[in-house]
Point group: C2
Chain length 233, copies 2
């Protein structure tokens, strides 16, 4: 790894030794096309080759283990593994720690994703899916006063119906933060009256009998109370 140099005097990057070893290892794996199941050199060997302490290597490996990139196997030492794409994000979704900008971004990201799923829903919906969605709608106590749990059930089923597990998990992860941010807007008096609200049942019917465009317009109206907040950036 070569370190970037600029022609002006700038503060040296504040990378710790562990940061640097972590970066070097990830780069080494990529450059050598390591695949899941491949064995890694042992800790001591890496420490010697990199001329750093064993503790530093152990810390860097522990980070990669957290991301699911490597695994310890009994009697086989460490091997490469299939990382979990969202593990890191899941761990930092703490509303006390994220900046206001980050929280607002997450709020909007959910809206963007919600508006973008029509093509996938119409390409992949099955009768079984639609029956399950209808059952969820039938269990709701009230058409417009929807509990948080009912909300998650309905939209969660839509996410599942896209056939994209990563998207499904991503949206589900964003949901609590989305609610957290919206409660903040709501408390600040951002209230919107929708003349002809689109309910979960309406969305179900649009998905069953309508077109992609109908469904998307319905989803926009369904989310209009949230979209009303996005103008003021």
């Amino acid at each position: 790894m070569t370190e970037a140099r600029s022609s002006t005097l700038e503060p040296l990057e504040s990378l710790s030794m562990t940061d640097r070893v972590e970066n070097i290892l990830r780069e080494y794996f990529t450059d050598n096309a390591f695949k899941p199941g491949d064995s890694l050199p042992n800790e001591l060997e890496m420490a010697q080759k990199l001329n750093v302490s064993r503790n530093v290597v152990r810390e860097a490996l522990s980070r990669l283990r957290m991301l699911g990139m490597i695994e310890a196997r009994p009697r086989r030492g460490m091997i490469m593994a299939q990382p979990d794409l969202l593990a890191g994000m899941e761990k930092v979704l703490n509303p006390f720690l994220l900046s206001q900008d980050n929280l607002k971004d997450i709020f909007e990201l959910r809206l963007i994703l919600e508006m973008g799923i029509s093509e996938f829903l119409f390409a992949r919906k099955t009768d079984k899916d639609l029956d399950e969605l209808e059952a969820i709608v039938n269990k709701q106590k009230h058409p417009t006063l929807v509990s948080k749990e009912e909300e998650i059930l309905f939209h969660g089923k839509l996410y599942e119906m896209t056939g994209n597990d990563t998207f499904n998990r991503f949206q589900t992860l964003l949901m609590p933060t989305f609610q957290h941010v919206f409660t903040g807007f709501y408390d600040k008096g951002v209230k919107v009256e929708i003349e002809h609200p689109v309910t979960h049942r309406d969305l179900f019917l649009l998905l069953k009998n309508g077109t992609q465009e109908d469904f998307r317009k319905g989803m926009y109206t369904h989310l209009a109370v949230y979209f009303a907040t996005i103008k003021d950036r």
Copy 2:
């Protein structure tokens, strides 16, 4: 932290001591509403309270430092920090390691996001943005044979125009993986002829003079060659 128990006999969770300490610390921060800037107890104190070795605490803290949740400050010890929402994901976006399903998911996720940005573009576009977008289009050498760099410039400008930095960074991160996956489809003979292709210039004009719906339909046609791959899941 209480550990979940089930009423049937199942293998004990394969959490290492470091995994457990990491989880306990994150839970402790959330439960006690730690905010960026708050000081943490020192390593030794934590090790004593948790009755684990100092190395285990150091490893767990190193993981949290990687995620940006904590920082070491000279003469102040460790403090909480604003984590980087996408740092973990950025580190594991290695096509050699991710599963085929994950790669396909990422490919589709970009399409979902691309279809969902209309509302944000129309709510936030400025004349300056449109001028910059036009300049990007004017520099393109050919209307339909677009280089990877020209592709990134044009769509990257759209992402920027959403006013959502997290979305912008997220999409930019997904781009190389998207291209990697699509090259795979293309090599397998998935080729689609689009009768009336929508070019970057067409999209620019729709964004300048059209409606949200026009723009979205244009974007769908612009991406039709990619959407042709999603039916066969």
